[in-house]
């Protein structure tokens, strides 16, 4: 896992770097450190970074724009900040975790552990980059999400689509649990599932309320049925 630390205060950066090394193990590549997001943009454009640990002053209007920009990125973001009053907003925009300063080694460990698991907060919107700007797509308007290589295509209820820089795996980690992975390439909102069709050759399809039919992965049928019956 490749980690990028965005932190403008040397001592705080030193702390994050040291703890990351200790927690992630010496065999991983050492975390990169940048003092500002502007400096970090080039690194991030390479799409090699898995996790950004972000500490910037998130107060004020600039803070929101910054968060949206980060949330639209392909990487996971964990905010490490002194301004806890922005935490909820950050979660809604799609950060994986929010670590309040000052923090312990254990707290940071928990945040790093979320990269493979589930986000810590209620995501409300998906930030996507569009035409040089950022568009916030409300989750309610998403019909289903289709994987497209390293990207994911958000298919909206009105038929339009938006392209997210995050992979389906990363979106699954951020999205609330009522978004179910039914296939290697599909994430659907559970409440939209109208019925299951069992096809010949033990193939299973899902019919959504909108009438769209999507395939269900062979290994995922059992879990989906269990969720639907619950």
């Amino acid at each position: 896992m490749k980690v990028l630390i965005v932190e403008d205060e040397p001592l705080a950066a030193r702390r994050l770097e040291r703890l990351c090394r200790e927690l992630l193990g010496q065999d991983l590549p050492p975390p990169l450190v940048c003092a500002s997001l502007a400096d970090a943009r080039e690194v991030l454009a390479g799409r090699t970074v898995d996790l950004v640990l972000l500490d910037l002053n998130l107060a004020g209007e600039d803070g929101f724009r910054l968060l949206e920009e980060v949330a639209a990125g392909s990487f996971h973001t964990v905010v490490v900040s002194a301004n806890t009053d922005q935490a909820l907003r950050a979660f809604e925009l799609g950060v994986l975790d929010f670590v309040a300063k000052p923090y312990t080694r254990e707290r940071l460990e928990k945040a790093l552990a979320r990269v493979g698991g589930r986000g810590a907060g209620p995501l409300r919107t998906l930030a996507v980059r569009k035409g040089g700007g950022i568009v916030l797509v409300p989750l309610e308007s998403v019909a289903y999400i289709q994987g497209a290589g390293d990207y994911a295509e958000l298919v909206l209820r009105d038929g339009r689509t938006e392209l997210s820089e995050k992979s389906l795996d990363r979106l699954e980690a951020l999205l609330p649990t009522d978004f179910v992975r039914i296939h290697r390439s599909y994430l659907v909102p559970l409440q939209d599932v109208a019925r299951l069709w069992t096809q010949e050759g033990s193939r299973t399809d899902v019919e959504l309320r909108s009438g769209t039919r999507l395939p269900v992965g062979r290994s995922r049928v059992k879990a989906l049925k269990a969720r639907l019956d619950a």
Binding site: E9, P10, A12, A35, N83, K101
Partner: protein, 558 residues
């Protein structure tokens, strides 16, 4: 407004005290020689001069005075009328040729004379009290007057005793009522002056009320007590003194109460007026002119206050206009009759205006206190704002885990910052030396956090100069929130003194990733509010980017 109601009532009372006199002959005949009684009582005769009644100035040696007095018609069975005679001297009087009575003892020399009273009521003999004209002859001497009056015959009137008494009462009661009110108002203002904030306007208003009540009391004194005529001059002098006091205090009070900006012309006007007054003949004339001048000058002062939009100027203008109107209606009678109504109303108005001003002052003071407390809170809040406090604690965590000894040093300098902040936050102004100590402690903490040395150089500044708390501290904070310093940095403070003002130039070097522009941030608002609190209206704050970074120029009175 309540005071207008009261003035209205007083205005109604004024006509009631019009004297119940019947128009008598307005002239008298005087004879300067000490004739024998027989010659004086004989009709006609040589050497009698006719003079207006107000201008009898014979004396002090015995002289004669004769006039026709009209006895008013009356219902059958009504009481016999009395003669009310006020003549400044001792006298004996004959009514239709018969001796009517004596007041003191007329004498050729001061030793021989026994002084009579000023005001005397003599019952007329029933047989000589028929309605119609009667002859009154008076022999008088006045060795003990002590001054040369304009006229010595104040009153000559025939009427029913009860009616005369009623007239006197009607004259007395309202002025005594006003007197009581003025004494209370005066004492109230003096007590306020002594107990509360020492406002000169309050003191002057109190003194003005008391001087006006002294004037009223002295005016009313003749109606309260009958005294021998030699004492009249004492009363007149006291009356003059009280009048001048009122006449001077009234404009002085307005001058102070409405913070009249100019001073010299008014002192000049006062000196000229006093000199002019000395030239006016007669006590009554002087008093009248003094009060008229005083009202005129006060009116000008109130109009100027009005044009400056001073609070309460309307009330003062109303009171003065009312008093001026009464004065112009009858200038000569004013000191005796219009005065108490006019000044009762005027002083009520001034009292109301003054109370209004005090309330405004109180409100201003309270809001200033509130603002001061808000600023103190703001400063303390800023010192625990998360960006500073939480990042600092984060730094402590790192050192505790890696270099505990460094952590202890850091905590110590953090303690110093808070000690300084706590000690200055409650003050309105502190010495620049204390401010510099606070700033250096803050820079030490920031230095630890950044792993860099930050210094503040202030060569040759006057440490004893007074500045609002955390002024430089705020500028430093701004510098740190808009710059990312990656190399050691030195901040500079320069002081320039010129023309009674101090100019401070604070320069913060630009760091990496500088985001210029701190125009209307919370820090700047704090600075402006604090500066306005300590140097109201006398400061200037300019800031902007320069080649080296950011420069702030602050100018305050020395």
């Amino acid at each position: 407004m309540r005071c207008w109601l009261l003035i209205g009532c007083l205005g109604v009372l004024l006509p009631l005290q019009a004297p119940l006199s019947q128009p008598l002959e307005r002239t008298v005949e005087v004879h300067a020689e000490d004739l024998s009684v027989e010659r004086a009582l004989r009709p006609g005769g040589e050497g009698w001069r006719t003079v207006p009644r107000e201008q009898v100035v014979e004396g002090p040696a015995p002289f004669w005075l004769r006039t026709r007095v009209e006895v008013p018609p009356r219902a059958p069975g009504a009481p016999t009328p009395v003669l009310a005679l006020s003549l400044l001297g001792s006298w004996e009087a004959w009514w239709d040729g018969a001796l009517l009575g004596r007041n003191g003892h007329v004498g050729r020399t001061p030793e021989e004379e026994v002084p009579g009273n000023v005001d005397v009521l003599l019952p007329l003999p029933p047989e000589h009290a028929t309605p119609g004209p009667h002859l009154l002859v008076i022999r008088a001497s006045a060795h003990h007057r002590g001054f040369q009056p304009v006229g010595t015959l104040y009153r000559l009137q025939v009427g029913e005793a009860s009616e005369l008494a009623r007239a006197r009462l009607l004259w007395l009661v309202p002025s005594l009522a006003t007197l009581g009110a003025l004494v209370l108002m005066g004492l109230h203002h003096l007590a306020r002056y002594l107990m509360q904030r020492r406002s000169r306007a309050t003191l002057l208003l109190g003194l003005l009320c008391l001087a006006a009540s002294a004037l009223l009391l002295l005016e009313a004194w003749r109606g309260l007590e009958s005294y021998p005529y030699p004492r009249h001059i004492i009363r007149l002098w006291l009356l003059s003194g009280a009048t001048v006091a009122v006449a001077v205090l009234l404009p002085a009070t307005l001058h102070v109460a409405f913070s009249e900006p100019r001073r010299a012309p008014w002192w000049g006007a006062l000196a000229v007026s006093l000199l002019g007054l000395a030239a006016v003949p007669g006590f009554d004339g002087r008093n009248t002119v003094a009060l008229g001048l005083s009202l005129g000058v006060s009116l000008v002062l109130a109009l100027r206050a009005r044009s400056r939009k001073e609070p309460g100027a309307w009330a003062a203008l109303g009171g003065l206009g009312f008093a001026m109107a009464l004065y112009l209606m009858a200038p000569l009678d004013f000191p005796e009759r219009g005065f108490f109504v006019a000044f009762g109303g005027l002083l009520l108005c001034l009292g109301a205006a003054h109370a209004y001003q005090l309330r405004r002052q109180q409100q201003r003071l309270e809001s200033a206190t509130r603002a001061s407390e808000r600023l103190q809170l703001e400063l303390l809040k800023r010192s625990i704002q998360p960006h500073f406090l939480m990042n600092t604690l984060g730094a402590v965590s790192e050192w505790v885990e890696t270099e505990p000894a460094q952590a202890v040093r850091f905590i110590e300098s953090l303690g110093a910052v808070y000690r300084h902040l706590l000690s200055v936050s409650g003050e309105r102004a502190i010495s620049l030396a204390r401010e510099l100590e606070l700033c250096r402690a803050y820079l030490e903490v920031m230095g630890y956090r950044h792993g860099l040395a930050f210094t503040l150089e202030a060569p040759g500044v006057d440490g004893a100069a007074v500045v609002p708390p955390a002024v430089l501290h705020t500028l430093l904070e701004n510098a740190f929130s808009h710059n990312r310093y990656t190399t050691p940095v030195s901040f500079h403070l320069q002081e320039v003194r010129e023309g009674g003002r101090r100019r401070y130039v604070f320069s913060a070097p630009a760091g990496k990733g500088a985001t210029p522009g701190m125009g209307e941030g919370t820090g700047t608002r704090y600075l402006e509010a604090r500066l306005d609190e300590v140097f109201p209206g006398a400061w200037s704050l300019k800031q902007g980017p320069t080649e080296a970074g950011w420069t702030t120029v602050l100018e305050v009175p020395a």
